[in-house]
């Protein structure tokens, strides 16, 4: 089987953030323990697929996986190791952690469990902004949590940052970047806020109680980000992702490269043999099922059209762009044949550019990526 990424979902958190529309909610200890067991049954149900798998990455996402008890994590990863067929030498194994939930015991346990990367939700350097977002942590917790994971021996750390927040000034953003750089991570993800429907933050913005920065300020923040990243030796490799050389997230690259991935856990998505699957989002059903791995539905069947569209709109998220050679190898036709006109127009509009074998977003294309992606949808 192909090199595959493995995603494990942990749908619990201390408190739901104001902007969050993920499958995540607070839960009592008993439920969380039950869930840890169900995850293992889910993995067992996938034993055959896992056995045939070459694991290139594992990603424990959430929710707040750093809420898991040390034994739970060790036991979970043990199950993964027991079932996985082959474990690639460079395999990246990430856990998402939130400042305020990280303890030295846990960090040590993660190391024991074979986890080699921590992705920390820092978001902002200002306590007021963290409060606006409904985060449970404060600025100081970020500093403390980073120290803890470093002391436990983690050599690959990502910090998630958010820009375009209600009430956030350019200065706030610069200070956030500054604090992030001072913590010397290997990887940074900088997201411009997406106001998701139905979230408390969206309601506050809709009702006028909060105001988002205008497009101009949001883009100025993004421009500042690109500049600062360069100054601090980070290379941009995706619209919102930056890394020191060699520290690009292998797991996330897989999503944009159309590599297969297997999602374990409540509501987790999989992409296997060109099909997109999604596990049930019904927590009780998942907990009660003898074999929760059977509780999934097909979101999208495999088709050449889907592959074409996704190849374009996911591939172009990467700043290196898409390779015409690779396209031809995958689809058997020239990129020009499939999308010649769209590409010509987008180059004319200054949103795409050619660079040797590659077609990629221009600087302006990074700001208007959706406009570009739409062109490749039917």
């Amino acid at each position: 089987m192909e090199e595959t990424g493995l995603y494990l979902h942990y749908p619990f958190c201390v408190r739901k953030c104001a902007y969050c529309d993920f499958l995540s909610a607070p839960a009592d200890e008993g439920t969380r323990a039950e869930y840890a067991d169900a995850l293992k049954r889910d993995l067992a149900g996938r034993a055959q697929e896992l056995g045939a798998m070459k694991v290139r990455s594992v990603y424990i996402g959430g929710g707040t996986p750093s809420l898991m008890e040390p034994e739970e994590i060790i036991s979970l990863m043990q199950t993964v190791h027991d079932l996985a067929g082959e474990w690639l030498p460079q395999a990246e194994c990430t856990i998402e952690a939130n400042p305020g939930t990280v303890t030295p015991d846990k960090a040590v346990a993660w190391r024991q469990a074979g986890i080699n990367r921590v992705s920390m939700g820092m978001q902002a350097a200002q306590d007021t902004l963290l409060q606006t977002l409904g985060r449970i942590h404060r600025r100081q917790d970020v500093i403390d949590s980073v120290r803890i994971v470093r002391q436990a021996g983690f050599r690959n750390l990502n910090l998630d940052l958010m820009m375009g927040l209600p009430g956030q000034s350019m200065e706030d953003w610069q200070q956030t970047l500054e604090l992030a750089f001072s913590l010397e991570p290997e990887h940074l993800s900088c997201y411009s806020l997406i106001l998701e429907e139905g979230t408390p933050l969206e309601r506050q913005v809709q009702s006028g109680r909060m105001r988002l920065p205008d497009e101009e300020l949001d883009r100025a923040m993004y421009a500042e980000t690109l500049l600062q990243m360069q100054n601090h030796g980070f290379e941009q490799y995706e619209i919102s992702n930056f890394a020191k050389t060699g520290y690009e997230s292998r797991h996330n690259l897989g999503y944009w490269d159309l590599s297969p991935y297997l999602g374990i856990g409540l509501g987790a998505s999989s992409y296997i043999d060109g099909r997109r699957l999604k596990n049930t989002s019904d927590l009780n059903a998942y907990l009660e099922a003898e074999d929760p791995s059977k509780l999934f539905s097909v979101e999208q069947e495999a088709s050449r059209q889907n592959d074409l569209e996704e190849w374009m709109f996911l591939g172009l998220r990467r700043t290196q762009g898409i390779s015409r050679e690779a396209f031809k190898a995958f689809f058997g036709t020239e990129l020009q044949e499939e999308y010649g006109q769209q590409i010509r127009e987008l180059i004319r509009d200054g949103l795409l550019e050619r660079c040797g074998d590659m077609i990629r977003l221009t600087r302006r294309g990074l700001d208007l990526a959706n406009y570009v992606f739409e062109a490749f949808l039917r």
């Binding site: 990424g5 995603y7 997201y191 411009s192 806020l193 997406i194 497009e215 101009e216 949001d218 883009r219 619209i239 919102s240 996330n252 999503y255 944009w256 991935y261 999602g263 509501g267 987790a268 998505s269 992409y271 997109r276 999604k278 979101e299 999208q300 569209e309 996704e310 709109f313 996911l314 998220r317 509009d349 949103l351 990074l366 700001d367 208007l368 990526a369 959706n370 406009y371 992606f373 739409e374 949808l377």
Partner: protein, 604 residues
């Protein structure tokens, strides 16, 4: 039945004073069938079968009432449309009656439409029975309302029933008074036929069903009849009554004094105009009944299918609507911006809204409507006079000697405390003050001459909001007056958009221009490039806004769990753009065309 036992009446009222509730109560309290008809209906299954699928609107309903005197009476309740747009239809319905119930809300008293409808009824020499409704409400003050009716209209209210249509209180008294107070019809059954058309309805099985009041003579199956104004003849296939929510054919037909219907395999609804007189082809009446006039469209707008490929559907839908609504006018037109569509004419703005809503709801059409306008008279240098209903057809300024616009007389009934605000509103709309009449200390009737094009947009809403809902309003067309009018053209990215042009008084042009470009700026999404939006008169730009170039259109995150969802989002966004109209290289959403309709809303 003897004429002495027939009563033909309408119910007139200001909107929301309880007209339909009272009608419902009256129908409930009476029988729909006589004893003999009851038997017929049970036996006549064939008929039932034949009529399945047809629902007859209650244009008129025939009720059987056994009065206190022990006799059975036929009460024909003739419905009247309740809005100024349909004044002519109301007047024809009233002309079919001998009497009218004037329903007045005991908490509100007389309102503008109470007066307008009442005067209309008096014009037709109807006997008017005032009915005070809503006496169950705490705020009811029947004595005050009675005094008002006596003082303002001069009607005797000593016999006025005090009722609650809602609770059913004193409905019997209303029925009894209908018999004792309203006069029976007159007319000679042996005279040549004269029947007034007060409504018609298209039925695909029978053709047009014509609703009539027989004034003289009789009409029956097999008879050859002539529509006097339309000048066409038909053979009557069926004549009868409207009862029990369906048609009840009668072998004897209808005779002088009666209200009913007939059919004659008529396919052309245009032949059965409301107000026309039906007479016998073999023994015609010497004259037609008075009061016929051909309805004229007062308000015009362009209607386009949002999806250009639905043009044939829109045409079919308009054809079908026209079958039941002779006052609807339409003809094909083409717009550079909107493609193929129709210029449609209506009796008024409400009529337009009703048609628009029905097209969207009943025919499942998504429409783009251009700003409604009125008909202007354009006097050209060469002496020619053009009736202009589409701004795009305005001749070159050099060819125009002068223009005229329609003027109405508006009567506004309102609490005195709001006089100042409403007078300001009327002045803003270029109104010419005619007079104020005080009714008691607290209310007044304000009369203004107003240009029709100032009231067709949102005058009614503005009136309501400036009087906290208390002002009521009625208008009548006075005629045309000379006016300084200009055509405002809108340019998007320097391209004129014909569908956005409209005609406006010179003094209003600047302000409207500014508002409209502001609104368009908000409606038109940002593009890759900057888009100037300009308003111009004859090539001279008088207002400008700019839609800034798009700065951000990107989703920051797209990981494994997001892919299908984000793809759907992109597809939706793309789909939205497909539904937009392409003007030059600018994509304009449908809503932008509608936004010009609303440009006064923050006036209030």
């Amino acid at each position: 039945m003897k004429q002495a036992n027939i009563r033909n009446f309408s119910i007139i009222a200001h909107i929301d004073h309880g007209k339909s509730t009272l009608a419902d109560r009256i129908i409930e309290k009476t029988g729909l069938l006589t004893a003999r008809e009851m038997q017929d209906q049970v036996l006549d299954n064939m008929d039932l079968e034949r009529e399945r699928g047809i629902t007859i609107k209650a244009q008129a309903v025939r009720l059987i009432y056994r009065a206190a005197d022990g006799q059975e009476y036929i009460l024909n309740l003739i419905d009247t449309p309740g809005h100024v747009d349909f004044n002519y239809e109301v007047s024809r319905s009233l002309a079919a009656c001998e009497g009218a119930l004037l329903v007045v809300d005991a908490t509100q008293g007389i309102e503008a439409q109470t007066l307008a409808n009442c005067y209309l009824a008096l014009d037709h020499n109807l006997e008017i029975l005032p009915v005070i409704n809503k006496i169950d409400l705490i705020a009811a003050d029947p004595d005050r309302v009675k005094t008002e009716i006596e003082d303002i209209i001069g009607l005797d209210t000593s016999e006025a029933p005090l009722i609650s249509a809602k609770t059913g209180q004193n409905i019997d008294e209303v029925l009894e008074k209908i018999v004792t107070m309203l006069p029976p019809p007159e007319g000679d059954p042996e005279a040549p036929l004269q029947a007034l058309i007060f409504d018609s309805l298209y039925d695909s099985y029978r053709g047009v069903i014509v609703f009539i009041r027989v004034k003289e003579g009789r009409i029956r199956k097999g008879m050859r009849i002539r529509f006097m104004a339309a000048g066409v003849e038909y053979d009557v296939v069926e004549a009868g009554y409207m009862g029990a929510g369906r048609l009840m054919p009668s072998e004897e037909g209808l005779e002088a004094g009666e209200v009913g219907y007939f059919t004659a395999s008529i396919k052309e609804v245009a032949h059965t105009r409301v107000g026309d007189t039906v007479t016998g082809a073999d023994r015609p009446a010497a004259t037609a009944l008075p009061g016929y006039k051909q309805v004229q469209s007062m308000v015009f707008c362009g209607m386009y299918p949002a999806d250009g490929s639905k043009y044939p559907d829109l045409r079919d839908a308009l054809d079908k609507m026209k079958l039941n609504d002779a006052s609807l006018f339409f003809e094909a037109e083409t717009s550079k911006a909107l493609g193929f569509g129709f210029r449609c004419g209506f009796l008024g703005l409400l009529h337009m809204e009703i048609i628009e809503e029905r097209l969207e709801r009943e025919f499942n059409l998504d429409l783009v409507t251009t700003a409604p306008g009125v008909v202007y008279k354009v006097h050209k240098n060469n002496g020619e006079v053009v009736m202009l209903s589409n701004p795009a057809d305005l001749p070159e300024p050099t060819e125009i000697e002068y223009m005229e616009e329609p003027i109405v007389k508006a009567e506004i009934m309102l609490p005195t405390e709001h006089i100042g605000g409403i007078m300001k509103l009327c002045q803003d709309r270029r109104g010419e003050y005619v007079g104020t009449e005080y009714i008691e200390n607290t209310r007044a009737l304000l009369t203004y001459k107003l240009p029709l094009n100032e009231i067709i947009y949102d005058f009614f809403d503005a009136l309501k909001s400036r009087s906290r809902g208390y002002a009521s309003f009625d208008y009548d067309l006075l005629g045309y007056e000379r006016s300084t009018l200009v055509r405002l053209d809108i340019l998007i990215n320097r391209e004129p958009v014909d569908a956005l042009s409209f005609i406006v008084h010179e003094s209003k042009a600047y302000e409207r221009a500014r508002r409209i470009v502001e609104r368009l700026k908000d409606e038109i999404p940002r593009h890759l490039f900057e888009i100037p939006i300009q308003a111009a008169i004859g090539g001279k730009v008088i207002a400008r806004e700019t839609v800034k170039a798009m700065r951000k259109d990107v989703l920051a995150k797209c990981y494994g769990g997001d892919i299908t969802r984000k793809k759907k989002l992109l597809e939706k966004q793309k789909e939205g753009k497909k539904r937009m109209r392409q003007i030059g290289n600018v994509e304009v959403p449908q809503a932008a065309f509608m936004s010009v309709l609303k440009f006064d809303e923050d006036d209030n």
